[in-house]
Amino acid sequence: MSDDESGGEYGQSTEEQRAVVMGIDFRNDGLMLLTMLLGIYIIYLLAGLVIGFPFRGLMNQIGQLTFWIAVFAMASLALNLHWGYTGLFNIGIVGFMATGVYVTGILSKPVFGSGTSAAEIGGFGLPLWIGIIGGTVAAGLLGLIAALPALRLRADYLAIVTIALSEIVRFSLLSDSLSGHEIAGYRVGLGGGDGVILDYQDPLESLIRALSAPFDLILGEQGWLWNDVYLGIVVDFVANFIPNNPKPVVDNFAYSAVLLLILGGFYVVIRRMGNSPFGRVLKAIREDEDVTNALGKNTNMFKIKSFVVGCALMGLVGILWFGTQGSVTPNTFRPRITFYIWIALIIGGAGSNSGSVMGGAVFAAFLFQGPRYFKNVIETALGNPEAPSSFGQAMLPVSNGDVVPFLLYTLDSIRQLQLFMMGVVLIVLMHRRPDGMLGHRKEPASSIPLTRPIKRSGGGDTVATDGGETDE
C-alpha cells in the first residue's frame, strides 16, 4: 500500500492502518485479485495441457490472455471513473478509442513517399510517443467538445448522445471525402473504408529502444537494450523452447507485460482520483447533483474534468489495444466494443476500482478470450474437423438424430455466440447481481482512512450509549 503513507502521523494505530485502508481491506483485495488471476492462468494452462495443445499455441494464448486482461481492466477503470464515480452514462467509448488510434496513426505514420502505394496515405512521421500523447489528448478533446453541451443531459439522453457521437466518428472515418488530403505538404487522411496501416515503429521496440538510451550513452552503442538484451538474450533463451521463430511469441508476452505495468499505473491514478476529495465530489454528483451544487461545488467543472480525463484514458486504451494490430479500419470501431467494456465493469461492480479490474479480468478470460480458446482447444482435440457452413446444413442431420454437425456449427460460430452469451450474462447480472461480483461495497472516498481520530477533546465515550434513535 504505497498510496497513503501519511496516516500514521495522526494517531491511528498502525494496526488499524495496515488492516483497513480507505475502508477496504486492501490486502484481501490484492489477494483476491492475485488468486483470481492465478486461477485463470491455471485453468488456461490445464485446458491446453490436457488436450495437448502445442506449446507455442499455448504460450500465445497465455500472452494474449494477459493482453486482454490488461486492456479490459484499463478500459473498465476508465469507464468506472465516468459511470461508477460520476454517474455519467457514456456508451460511446469506442468513439474515443477510435479517435485515439487514428490520431496516433496519422501523427506517427511515416511520411507519404515513393515507397507508399498510391492508394495508401501517409502520416506526419513523428516519434511514436508524440503520436500516443497526441492520440490521448485528441480523445480527451473530443470528450471536451461532447461534454460542453451534453453533460447537462439526463443519463439516458447522455447515453444516446454518446453512442450517436461514436457512430458519427465511425462515419467520418469511413467517409471518402476525408480519406486523403494534402495538408501542409503532407499527404494525410483517414483512409476511408480501407482504414489506415499502422506502419510506425513497433511500440514495444520503440519503448525498449527509448529505455535503452542511458545504457547506450554509457556503452556507446545503439539500442543496446533491444539488440543485445532483448533480441540477444531473451529471445535466444526462449528459442530453446520454441525453436521456430520465437520472436512473435516473446513480443506478445513482453508487450502484454508492459500493458500490465500500465494497468498498474491506471489503477493507482484512478484510485487516487477516486479516493480523494475530488472523487468524493464526483460521487456526490452521482448521488444528487443539485445537492452537491447547493453545497458550493461547481458541479459542471467536476463533471467536465471527470469526463475528459476518462475519455482521454479510453483513447489511450484504444491506442494500446489497436496500436499493435498493424492496421485498423473504421468498422473495427463498432459499438460492440463499448458493450464489452460495460459488461466488464458491471461484472466487477460499478463504483469499485478493484472491482473494475476484476471485472476486466473475468470478462477477458471467460467471456472474450475463453470461448475462442475453448474453440481452439476442442478443434485441436478433434483434429480440426470441417463444420457445416450454415445453420440449415447443421440442423438437417439433427432430425436423424445426428447432432455432431450442429455442435460443430455452434463451435464454428463461437464469435457470434459469445456475443449472445455476453448479452445473456448482462441480463442475468442485472437481475441477480446488479452491484457486481463484489457486491455492494463501501469504499469511502477519502485519501485517508476514515476512522475516528484518537485525539478526543474530552467528553469520553458518551455518544455511543445514547440509546440510539427512536424516531420513526
Binding site: R280, V291, G296, S447, I448, S457
Partner: protein, 287 residues
C-alpha cells in the same frame, strides 16, 4: 461542536484558501448587519405566479420564520434566493453583494447555504462521506493534487482536519454512531439532522432551512430545535420555512407570512398572531 475558531489551520498550506476552509466560522464574519435583503422577487411557472414581488430583510444573527399555507411560494422563494431557480424579476443581496441569478454553488460559496424540504442525502455514500463533501475549497478537489505524490501529502493533512471536524459535528448532532452507515439507511429524522450538520460544514454565515421539522418525531424535533438555538447563539443567522405556525411563533423573533406568492405581513410573533389577514389566509387557505 467546538466553538473556538481554529483560525490559521497551520497546515503548511499550499494554497491561500486554507483559512477559510477550516475555520468554524459561526457567523463570526464582520459583514453587514443585514446579511440578506430580498426585493421585488418574482417567479412564474407557465401561467402560475409562484412568487410575486416578495421583499424582506433578515437581521444578522437572527432567527426568522417564513410561514404560509401550502403552495404559498415559500420553497420557490428559497429556490430563487439560492439560485436553484432563476428569478424572473427582483434582486437578492447577500452581505451587500448582488447575488441575483447566480448559480447555487456561487451562492453557497458566499456563505448562504440551504437545506431542502425533502431531505436529500447522498444515499450511497456513508454519513461521514456526506459530511466530508461539504467543506469548501478543499485542496484535494483539484484533480492534479489528488493524484500527484507530493501534493497529495498536503491533501492528506487537510483531509485529517476535515475528518476531525466532521466527527465533531456528528457528535454535536448525536449521529456519530451512524458515521459509517450509508446515508440511505438513515431514518427520515436522522436525514434531517445529517442535512443540517452537512450544511454547517460549509462554514455558512446564514442557513436557509426548508421545513426542517417535517417528518421528524417530537423528541427529535426538540433536539433539532435545541441545536438550532445553540448555533444561533454562536452567531449563525437562520431563515426557517415552516408549516407549523405555533412552532415558529415559539422559536423565532421575527415571522414573515406568505400567501399566494406575496408577503402578507411580517413582524413579531405577537403581531402576526393577531393579524386578521393571517388568520384569514390560514383558515381560508387550508381547511
Amino acid at each position: 461542536m467546538s466553538s473556538e475558531p481554529e483560525t490559521s489551520g497551520g497546515t503548511g498550506g499550499v494554497d491561500e484558501t486554507d483559512d477559510r476552509t477550516l475555520t468554524t466560522l459561526g457567523g463570526a464574519g464582520d459583514t453587514a448587519e443585514v446579511p440578506l435583503k430580498v426585493s421585488g422577487l418574482e417567479k412564474h411557472f407557465g401561467g402560475i405566479t409562484a412568487v410575486d414581488g416578495v421583499e424582506f430583510e433578515i437581521d444578522k444573527g437572527s432567527m426568522t420564520g417564513l410561514i404560509g399555507p401550502n403552495g404559498a411560494g415559500k420553497s420557490t422563494t428559497f429556490n430563487c434566493i439560492t439560485g436553484t431557480h432563476k428569478p424572473d424579476g427582483g434582486r437578492v443581496e447577500f452581505n451587500g453583494q448582488d447575488i441575483t441569478g447566480l448559480e447555487p454553488y456561487q451562492v453557497a460559496d458566499r456563505g448562504l447555504v440551504r437545506t431542502f424540504q425533502i431531505a436529500r442525502e447522498l444515499g450511497e455514500m456513508t454519513v461521514l462521506e456526506n459530511m466530508m463533501v461539504a467543506p469548501k475549497h478543499q485542496r484535494g478537489e483539484a484533480l492534479w493534487r489528488s493524484v500527484l505524490p507530493y501534493a497529495r501529502n498536503s491533501v492528506n493533512q487537510q483531509e485529517q482536519e476535515i475528518l476531525e471536524r466532521a466527527w465533531e459535528t456528528l457528535e454535536f448532532f448525536d449521529i456519530d454512531h451512524l458515521a459509517n452507515e450509508y446515508a440511505e439507511n438513515l431514518s427520515g429524522g436522522q436525514r434531517k439532522l445529517l442535512e443540517l450538520a452537512r450544511a454547517l460544514l460549509t462554514d455558512p454565515q446564514m442557513l436557509l432551512l426548508d421545513e426542517p421539522f417535517a417528518g421528524v418525531n417530537p423528541s427529535l424535533e426538540e433536539r433539532l430545535l435545541e441545536h438550532i438555538h445553540e448555533l444561533r447563539d454562536q452567531g449563525y443567522t437562520f431563515l426557517i420555512v415552516e408549516h407549523d405556525m405555533d412552532l415558529i411563533m415559539e422559536n423565532c423573533e421575527k415571522v414573515i407570512v406568505m400567501h399566494q406568492g406575496r408577503i402578507l405581513t411580517e413582524g413579531t410573533p405577537e403581531d402576526v398572531r393577531n393579524n386578521e389577514d393571517v388568520i384569514e389566509a390560514y383558515l381560508g387557505g387550508e381547511v
